[in-house]
Symmetry: C2
């Protein structure tokens, strides 16, 4: 097999490897064979995934002697709703699956989240593997076992914790990713710097041009570091009893923005870019995050080509705040925030008066 | 509080009590207060539940100072589908729940299964309590954490393992249960005798008239014994890696019968009554279950007023077998059965040639 980096998610019986490298899909059959255990598997993908990765995967499965069937979802965040989820479950069941059937999600975050949730629920739990094909899915959504679908009321309001058996991050898939989507993925990459690793943040400031050119070695190092951070956080706190909440930096406002724009206008990464800059400003007000750090944060998102502000009508603003109150992080009627003390260090569960939130949006 | 029996489900951190007795709903507030932790709770019920238990529960919550909101589902097994599940989730979310919100299921198996699944998925997991109001739900579906909904392809094909925090079996609710439903519950009661406890089976043969008159002391002893058996089995094998499969005695054929009649013609208990008699006949063919035991099994179901045979057209028969192949218990393409060696002792995971199954239906 080709040279790959491996990051282990330490979760005891539910622990698993994330493998990061080039050419991984072309050899996926060899990685999947121990998990398929001689049985036919089901690949779920969507119309966004280029023909190339899917044919490479199918070819590799054939070489490894793994029979498979493929289910293709329509593209886009709209696919992550209940109606599509129900249809996906019916479709997978119609293939004649059993409790030992392995599901494989090939695609971006939407495919991974909905397939993972199907795996969590079908026959009360099937094993599954993530093969994320976007930067955002590779550094974030494919790792950690949070799966689910959106309701009209908000994002991921119905879901489960269901860990995959393996994650294959094939960096080749990033080469053909549309620029807008690649940039959206950078929003999660920058987040890891802010919440956990000041050195990563500085490296991003320095290497951003190389990253935007998608230089293979730079990408590999950055993706692997992000996966390491996520694996470490999830390994401490699988079900978000505490620490894991730091991963939601910028997400309270971000999710609400996505919800009120009906998951259409903003990509997830764009929404949380706006959300993170707002959270940084809140942090300056509440925690004395240095103004210089706020400026560096804003500048890095801007350099990455991401939006950092939003203009809302009074009606949209009201909708935004009521969406925020529906967020999973609400407790005792108060909206809790992750706030930064400095770049590389955040605290979760911070109460913020609504007036302050109004000021920064 | 009134005198109650308590059966403990031993599942470590996820362990919980089943309380069995009369007058439990009227004092539910006191039982629920430690779980509600001062927060408003959500009660889910359906139109089948008599006005009395719901008002008793609401009164008791009021006395205990627990605020609540009630969501009422339409009645019947048809309610346990994806569309109703999605609507229930949206409706509960619209009440402004948080991760600490407690759900309470007041009703029969359908209410318990769909509410439990909503609890498993909403905000990726809420705590919930079962207050089963039918015999079937008290002895079976409310205990053990199997929750889910039906798909067109079959029963409970989408679901989760999500244990309740408490089960309250108020025997008063059984007094007004329609006769047909009470009898359907007896199908699960008899099952415990067949799979686990020959003495229980003999006691049922003896006490059936008192049971059918719903004599309080008899009911209490029988319901408690059934809960004990279920708790013991689930305590050994929460996620059905092995032993728990014995609880599916009669269910492979029973579920398929329900699926092909679109969850309308047969109550669950009626379908598994037919399924258990067929499984007993298969057991006689494959395991040498004594013919006398088969006769006792059939006679007890008949004495309970339950159907023990079904007449199918050739087209229905074909549908039945294809529904059976979709069952969760299928492995390696083979339909696995729970078969009896003698009354009180069964074995799971038994392969049975399809020709033999054809003979007994």
């Amino acid at each position: 097999m080709s040279e790959t980096r491996t990051v282990r998610v330490e979760l005891g019986m539910r622990g698993y490897d994330i493998r990061i490298g080039t050419g991984l899909i072309a050899e996926a059959g060899a990685h999947l064979a121990p998990l398929a255990k001689g049985r036919p598997i089901v690949v779920v993908t969507d119309a966004t995934v280029a023909r190339l990765p899917l044919s490479a995967l199918e070819h590799s499965l054939g070489q490894a002697g793994i029979k498979h069937k493929t289910v293709t979802l329509p593209r886009g965040e709209g696919t992550k709703d209940f109606a599509h989820f129900a249809r996906l479950c019916e479709e997978i069941l119609a293939l004649g699956i059993e409790r030992q059937t392995l599901l494989v999600a090939l695609g971006g975050g939407v495919v991974g989240d909905i397939t993972g949730f199907a795996a969590a629920c079908l026959l009360r739990g099937l094993a599954y593997v993530q093969i994320p094909t976007t930067l955002l899915a590779q550094v974030d959504s494919s790792v950690g076992g949070k799966v689910g679908v959106n309701l009209r009321a908000g994002k991921n309001l119905v879901g489960a914790f269901h860990q995959p058996k393996l994650v294959l991050c094939d960096l080749d898939t990033l080469a053909t990713l549309p620029l807008r989507e690649f940039r959206a993925g950078l929003a999660e990459v920058i987040k890891y710097g802010i919440i956990y690793d000041a050195a990563l943040f500085a490296r991003l400031e320095r290497d951003l041009p190389k990253l935007l050119q998608r230089e293979a070695k730079t990408l590999e190092g950055i993706v692997a570091r992000c996966c390491e951070i996520k694996a470490e956080v999830v390994g401490y706190d699988e079900r978000e009893g505490g620490l894991r909440a730091i991963l939601n930096f910028g997400h309270t406002i971000g999710h609400a923005l996505e919800a009120i724009s009906s998951y259409g206008k903003y990509l997830h990464g764009e929404a949380i870019s706006i959300g993170q800059v707002a959270a940084a400003e809140l942090s300056a007000k509440v925690f004395k995050l240095p103004a210089a750090d706020v400026a560096r944060i804003r500048a890095l998102f801007e350099a990455a080509g991401l939006p950092t502000r939003v203009d809302l009508t009074p009606a949209q603003r009201r909708k935004l705040f009521s969406a925020m109150r529906l967020d999973k992080k609400v407790s005792g009627g108060e909206i809790k925030f992750v706030l930064a003390e400095r770049i590389g260090k955040v605290r979760f569960g911070q109460r913020v008066p609504e007036a302050l939130i109004q000021e920064v949006i």
